[in-house]
């Protein structure tokens, strides 16, 4: 990994909005109901949207974690494999 790319990942780590952000979004959603939906459904839909976005985010993070695990295991496996071959080569 290039050092600059590593630093960029660190510098651009996700930041959270203010603690009351979600409450403000919900309040705004209640103030601007979708005309075809009753108010209570609009609020529930807004909550679902935020949760769904979280799920999309969760899926993406899961894939990233999986990729890290697979990289770790491939690297570990390849080192062990190399050690094994060196041992075999060293045997009389």
């Amino acid at each position: 990994m290039d050092w600059l790319e590593d630093e960029l990942r660190q510098a651009l780590r996700r930041k959270d909005p203010s603690p009351d952000f979600e409450a403000r979004v919900m309040a705004a959603a209640r103030r601007r109901p979708v005309l075809t939906m009753p108010r209570w459904l609009a609020a529930a839909a807004a909550l679902l949207v935020i949760t769904s976005a979280g799920l999309g985010y969760r899926y993406h993070r899961g894939q990233a974690a999986k990729a890290q695990v697979m990289t770790a295991m491939r690297l570990t496996g390849s080192k062990l494999s190399r050690i094994q071959m060196q041992i075999k080569a060293a045997r009389p």
Binding site: D2, W3, L4, E5, E7, L8, R9, Q10, A11, L12, R13, R14, K15, D16, P17, S18, F21, R24, V25, A28, A29, R32, V34, A42, A45, A46, L48, V49, I50, S52, A53, L55, G56, Y57, Y59, H60, A64
Partner: protein
């Protein structure tokens, strides 16, 4: 995610919260078009990108300049900035809009060039070119600031 993309693009917390709120409300109004949780994520990202770039153009805080023309601070004799992350964020904020968003999507969201191209509706080759040039420029600026050795 939405807030973070906008924040790192505009480097302005208040505006980022405003835009993020607007993006969520927009999704709420367009719920019927959403097919799945993953689609919601894609939709949010796409709209966040569009609204961020629109906001940046409206504000006109930074004149549009070519990458190479971004002004350099006095390089020699300036002590290295211990807060490399903040230095990088400021340098990124000086990039023109499209390469700036490419950098944010690549290194914050970990998207590959194809995903970025799809999201921003620009060719993959353009994305790769922006990435290459931006990285080269950022690297050069950091070296000149004495933050990093070549």
């Amino acid at each position: 995610m939405v807030f973070s993309v906008v924040y790192h693009f505009l480097h302005d917390r208040d505006t980022a919260e405003e835009i993020a709120q607007d993006v969520f409300l927009s999704l709420h109004r367009n719920l019927r078009a959403i097919q799945s949780a993953a689609h919601a994520g894609f939709w949010l990202r796409k709209v966040a990108v569009q609204r961020s770039i629109d906001a940046s153009r409206k504000r006109m805080r930074r004149p549009q300049v070519a990458l190479e023309d971004v002004a350099e601070p006095v390089a020699r004799g300036v002590p290295a900035d211990p807060m490399l992350g903040e230095t990088l964020r400021r340098l990124i904020a000086t990039l023109p809009e499209t390469p700036r968003m490419v950098i944010v999507l690549r290194y914050q969201e970990d998207l590959d060039p194809t995903e970025i191209a799809n999201l921003m509706a620009i060719p993959v080759s353009t994305v790769k070119s922006h990435l290459q040039r931006s990285l080269a420029l950022l690297r050069e600026k950091l070296v000149r600031r004495g933050v990093r050795e070549e």
